[in-house]
């Protein structure tokens, strides 16, 4: 059984296609582990909000390209008839009438739904401590956070409780937990994956992506995620097929290091691992040079106007009328709205709704929202200028390794600073991947590689070459 669990998702799909592994056996092996974690409650990692029953194996066809390999899906993706709660009390027990387009696409390619994963409420958080269903623990150290908001997905993959998982990234919610858990996470180019059926946080930024054990798995899953969807007006046809990476060298590849995102504010141990990765890149033939992203230090400020503003609008739909929680014995309609939202939303979600409503309110709109949108323009320009000089940009993914549970919950601003290195790419809508590049204090450090829009194949190739060279051992976390 343990041999089955040691296979990457791509290896498992190959083994199923070759007839040497049964899709049922694979599913049951993971299902048993996921169910045990769920049953363990606080004693486990608390990765899941729902796990498939024993009789639900199958779904994905063994003959389809993904061969029935089980998939863990972040709670905020709607899955028909299966609880989809976005980590919120206000959606507790909600059973959607339809399935998100990207999940349907993956079913069509042969993925099988294994479990729904715990997350920060409405994807707002960087530690997974904001979930109504309890904090998720980091498999490398149970007293530390897995990152967020896709913390359940990242912890499950790192701990070998799922072969791979879907996450979503608004300002770093795939890349940062992947970094803190020592695995791979890719945020694709905005628009390449349909958002239809994703419970929205900030629509101009939200993007689904793969969370996997290795780069090859990320490419394989992404291949079947991308594509235009008539149900999402911002989705685009990906211009080419996602290829499985094979590069062994980085000869002639110019990598840009922005000072703004790789110096001040980054933990020393993280910088050491980052610089060691740059040295690897040079050994593989890459040319490493400095680039400037002068507006990147302002990205976080712009993001914490734009994302809450969009969230305050998106979350207006939770009013106790059509689904989810309703406050008891309302005196009138307004009382029902305000008390339902008071009872149903957690503190961080309330904070962001308030922040967004304030920023959009009369008299402040131009000073905050309008201004943040113009900063966004400058950040996108910075990247365009940089990509005229280099093919890819590399930074640490997160400023620190996984921090202790409870360490940053009292200070929202300290928590927001986790997104410092990932938010600029989100605002520019460009793809970025995090791969593990070493350890600091015995905990994983993530390397972020970003490229221009639709450069995923180049990104994956570079990530693959570095991954092979670094040879990061994620096994200790999976025992």
């Amino acid at each position: 059984m343990s041999d089955v669990l040691s296979l990457s998702a791509a290896q498992a799909a190959d083994a199923i296609a070759a007839g040497s592994l049964s899709a049922q056996e694979l599913f049951e092996a993971y299902r048993a582990r996921a169910a045990a974690d769920r049953a363990a409650g606080e004693e486990g990692l608390n990765c899941f909000t729902w796990v498939a029953g024993g009789d639900q194996a199958g779904g994905g066809g063994a003959n389809a390209p993904l061969g029935g390999v089980p998939l863990a899906v972040k709670d905020l993706f709607c899955t028909e008839g299966v609880p989809s709660q976005s980590g919120s009390r206000i959606l507790e027990g909600y059973l959607p009438p339809y399935t998100a387009s990207v999940v349907r696409r993956l079913y069509g390619a042969g993925a099988t739904l294994l479990a729904k994963t715990n997350q920060d409420e409405f994807a707002m958080g960087s530690s997974n401590e904001n979930s109504a269903f309890g904090a998720v623990r980091n498999p490398w150290d149970r007293e530390r956070v897995p990152g967020g908001s896709s913390g359940g997905s990242a912890a499950a993959v790192a701990a070998g409780l799922a072969p791979w998982a879907l996450g979503t990234d608004t300002g770093g919610s795939i890349r940062q937990p992947a970094a803190l858990c020592g695995i791979v996470g890719l945020k694709p180019t905005y628009g390449s994956v349909s958002r239809y059926g994703m419970i929205a946080f900030a629509s101009s930024l939200d993007q689904a992506g793969p969370i996997t054990r290795d780069v090859r798995d990320a490419a394989l899953l992404l291949r079947y995620m991308v594509g235009h969807d008539p149900c999402d007006a911002t989705s685009l046809q990906f211009p080419h097929e996602i290829e499985l990476p094979s590069a062994a060298r980085l000869d002639g590849v110019r990598l840009g290091v922005p000072n703004e995102l790789s110096g001040e504010g980054i933990e020393a141990g993280v910088l050491d691992a980052f610089h060691a990765a740059l040295e690897r890149a040079r050994e593989l033939g890459a040319e490493v040079r400095e680039v400037e992203l002068p507006h990147a230090p302002h990205a976080l400020s712009a993001y914490y106007v734009l994302a809450p503003a969009e969230a305050s609008s998106n979350l207006a739909r939770f009013d106790g009328v059509r689904y989810g929680l309703r406050a008891e014995n309302p005196t009138d309609l307004l009382d029902m709205y305000t008390r339902t939202r008071h009872d149903g939303f957690g503190p961080e979600v309330k904070r962001r709704i308030m922040l967004g409503t304030y920023a959009l309110s009369s008299g402040y709109y131009d000073a905050y929202y309008g201004r943040a949108q113009r900063v966004r323009t400058k950040i996108a320009e910075d990247f365009r200028t940089a990509f005229a000089q280099v093919e890819l940009i590399v930074t640490p993914t997160a400023p620190s390794v996984a921090f202790k549970l409870g360490e940053k919950t009292a200070d929202p601003l300290a928590m927001y600073l986790n997104d410092y290195c990932t938010v600029p790419m989100s605002l520019a809508g460009i793809p970025a991947i995090s791969i593990p590049c070493g350890l600091s204090q015995g905990l994983p450090v993530g390397l972020q590689i970003a490229g221009p829009a639709f450069s995923e194949n180049r990104l994956l190739d570079a990530a693959y070459a570095l991954e092979q060279s670094i040879g990061f051992d994620g096994t200790p976390a999976r025992v």
Binding site: S204, R341, M354, A367
Partner: protein, 110 residues
């Protein structure tokens, strides 16, 4: 705090302070009830975040266009053809209260 001044923006060095009344006003706009003990912490936390956010007031952004969306898609309309919608019983299946085939809500004016 950033304040509008004759069409330009200036950054004022003092810390952003959101007062209690302002918190309650914004909460009303957001249709969000706040318990008494939530008001002061909310005022403090919003002030701290807005203080950080106010750094964008230092940038010269005159003449810079706004970006609302990074994807260059305009007029993404589908053909205007009738299609089946969600069956009524499915649409109502998750509602907290239902009456006469619709969503039941309390009166706007009790």
């Amino acid at each position: 705090m950033i304040v509008p001044a004759a069409g330009r923006w200036r950054s004022v060095q003092c810390a952003t302070v959101i007062e209690r009344d302002e918190v309650l006003h914004v909460a009303r706009l957001a249709r969000l009830a706040l318990a008494e003990d939530e008001v002061e912490p909310m005022a403090r936390e919003l002030s701290a975040v807005l203080d950080h956010v106010a750094k964008i007031g230092e940038l010269d952004l005159d003449g810079v266009p706004a970006t609302s969306h990074v994807v260059d898609v305009t007029g993404a309309l589908r053909p205007d053809e009738p299609r089946p919608c969600l069956p009524r019983e499915v649409a109502l299946s998750q509602a907290p209260a239902v009456a006469d085939g619709g969503f039941l809500v309390p009166s706007p004016q009790a």
